[in-house]
């Protein structure tokens, strides 16, 4: 090597920050850095957001105006009051599917490999992804809430109960983001993540109390619907929004959200650390 090259080599040294910082602050910072990577991209692909809101808007119009007159829900004068919490719940749940698609995209494009070669806290890749998707879901929720207001939905109880209902919905969405993350890590392509992420959400959300009363279903279906965590979620959210007592449904829904988050974040993190090692 020439002397000038040596001089240049000296110039490069000393390298900055060689040791790896550890601790919760850095876990959070790495996760937020990853979340920012996705959030920055959101306004650049507005079609993603638009599609995420068009579908629930269609549901509102269909159910509220087309089926609404024919659907009878005991205990509710206005079907709109009954319907909207169900639509909110379905919207944020479907929103969680973006997590799986995004994770699969990072996997297939080799971005995960690059991230894995960096000294970051590795599970931040998943934490950051789920955090960014919750931000995206807050946005779609706000849009849907405005749509709900336009078609006549009103908060019947206290504001704090309504905020509680909203947090419960977002908590559920976050929990299912981890389910989707696991799916995204397990499939081989983005298309597969897309179908595997959505397909089971249709029975989950329709065989529930989200759009109709479960009492109108055949017995066997009703049993499933009554046990469905999504029914617990919609019942609790609906009660809080309309000002009635959610009863046990609230605690059961919270337990589901926490349980799913704990179990699936563990499974997803394990899957991530084992993938291609």
């Amino acid at each position: 090597m020439t002397t000038t090259a040596r001089a240049a080599a000296d110039e490069l040294a000393p390298p900055p920050q060689r040791e790896v910082p550890r601790g919760l602050v850095w876990v959070w910072r790495d996760s937020w850095t990853e979340a920012l990577r996705h959030l920055r991209a959101v306004p650049r692909n507005p079609d993603l957001l638009i599609f995420a809101t068009i579908q629930p808007i269609m549901f509102v119009l269909l159910f509220n105006y087309v089926f609404g007159g024919a659907i009878d829900v005991p205990g509710y004068d206005s079907y709109t009051q009954y319907l909207m919490p169900g639509v909110f719940a379905q919207t944020v749940l479907f929103g969680s599917a973006f997590t799986g698609i995004g994770v699969a995209e990072d996997m297939t494009k080799g971005i995960i490999d690059r991230l894995r070669s960096l000294p970051m806290y590795q599970p931040s890749v998943l934490v950051g992804r789920t955090l960014s998707d919750i931000c995206r879901n807050i946005f779609t929720f706000v849009v849907m809430f405005i749509v709900g207001y336009i078609v006549g939905f009103r908060i019947g109880g206290s504001i704090s109960a309504a905020i509680g209902a909203t947090l419960l919905l977002l908590g559920f969405s976050y929990a299912f983001s981890w389910v989707q993350a696991l799916i995204g890590l397990s499939v081989k392509s983005v298309e597969a993540a897309n179908s595997a992420g959505f397909i089971w959400m249709f029975p989950l959300t329709f065989v529930s109390s989200a759009f109709v009363s479960t009492a109108s279903m055949p017995q066997w279906l009703q049993t499933f619907a009554d046990w469905n965590p999504f029914t617990k979620l919609t019942n609790a959210a609906r009660a809080l929004y309309t000002g009635s007592d959610p009863g046990a449904d609230l605690w059961i829904a919270i337990a589901w959200a926490i349980g799913i988050t704990v179990v699936f974040s563990f499974l997803a993190a394990r899957k991530y650390s084992r993938t291609s090692r």
Partner: protein, 323 residues
């Protein structure tokens, strides 16, 4: 202490033995070229050294740190550019670099300063504010390499940095890697091309089917395989044997000749080819052999493999070539 030390590395994927005991070292401030055909085990080696994959057996250290037992500390010291550009298409070039800087735990200010510096260095300043989706293949590659340099790595890993690039981008990439090397960045690069290894690497390790089959400087390897190649194409297949004989007598270099019946060519290692060519043409003419073409070329990876292993680099050995 060497920058990279590898001993007896083994890795198996199901029935495929990707690595069967690879040994190599990279000295500080030098470039090692890991040369081998598709499927030789280059990427697998790089992935183990960069902590993406765990070896089944063997030991590897980077900057003195064991890759298996302390991967996070290894990651703080390395830069990796994989075989396929790993860039988030939704971000701008600047954001991509800043993002990597942040994950190396630089402050926002440092990460931004480094991003600006690297964009300039890699001739991407104008494109820095645009999203990567619109970048050309060459630009993506440059950004990818820039991303692996954000932390001023102790060891840089480049996996086939020029595969898939058009010839012009390829030359550009060579210049760029040469500059990095001149700055003293220890580099391990993999390639399928002998000329690339020759131009960029101080030392070359030739690998095939997961085993090291030769090591040395480019000159040492070329000494082993006997310099340039003289390739003679004749008019009729039945003239091949006689041509081969004449060439062998005239050139008398280490390597035996290789006969390709289908292409009607005889290839032989030769030194001082500028003197040999007129001789060969005259000799063959005197013997009444119809010569269609005489070409002098640099040895290719195929020649290296023919010489070292007796089979061609692409695996389908000895297609129609008897000696």
């Amino acid at each position: 202490m060497n920058a990279v030390e590898v001993e007896g590395l083994e890795k198996r994927f199901g029935d495929t033995e990707a690595l069967r005991g690879v040994d190599l070292t990279v000295e500080k401030a030098t470039v090692l070229g890991l040369l081998g055909p598709n499927g030789a085990g280059k990427t697998t080696t790089v992935r183990i050294l960069t902590t993406l994959l765990k070896a089944d057996a063997g030991r590897a250290t980077v900057d003195g740190i064991d890759v298996a037992s302390d991967p996070r500390r290894v990651r703080a010291r390395i830069g990796l550019t994989g075989q396929y550009a790993a860039v988030d298409e939704r971000l701008t070039g600047f954001e991509s670099l800043e993002h990597v800087g942040r994950l190396f735990h630089l402050s926002t200010r440092e990460a931004r300063a480094r991003a600006t510096e690297l964009l300039e260095r890699f001739d991407l300043t104008d494109a820095g504010g645009r999203v990567v989706k619109g970048y050309s293949g060459g630009m993506r590659r440059r950004l990818d390499i820039a991303m692996s340099l954000v932390s001023r790595p102790t060891v840089l890993f480049l996996d086939e940095p020029t595969t898939g690039l058009d010839p012009r981008s390829r030359l550009g990439m060579w210049d760029l890697i040469e500059e990095l090397v001149a700055e003293g960045t220890t580099t391990l690069l993999t390639t399928q091309y002998l000329d690339e290894a020759e131009r960029l690497a101080d030392d070359i390790v030739v690998i095939d089917h997961g085993t090291v089959i030769a090591k040395g400087t480019a000159d040492e390897l070329k000494g082993q395989i006997g310099g340039d190649r003289l390739e003679v194409t004749v008019g009729r297949p039945d003239e091949l044997a006689r041509t081969a004989e004449l060439l062998r007598d005239r050139c008398a270099v280490t390597g035996a000749e290789h006969v390709d019946v289908e292409a009607r060519t005889v290839t032989i290692a030769a030194s001082e080819t500028h003197k040999i060519v007129p001789d060969v043409v005259r000799l063959l003419d005197d013997a009444g052999i119809e010569v269609l073409d005489v070409v002098v070329r640099r040895p290719t990876l195929d020649d290296v493999f023919l010489q070292l292993t007796g089979h061609a680099a692409d695996g389908d050995a000895d297609e129609g070539g008897d000696r």
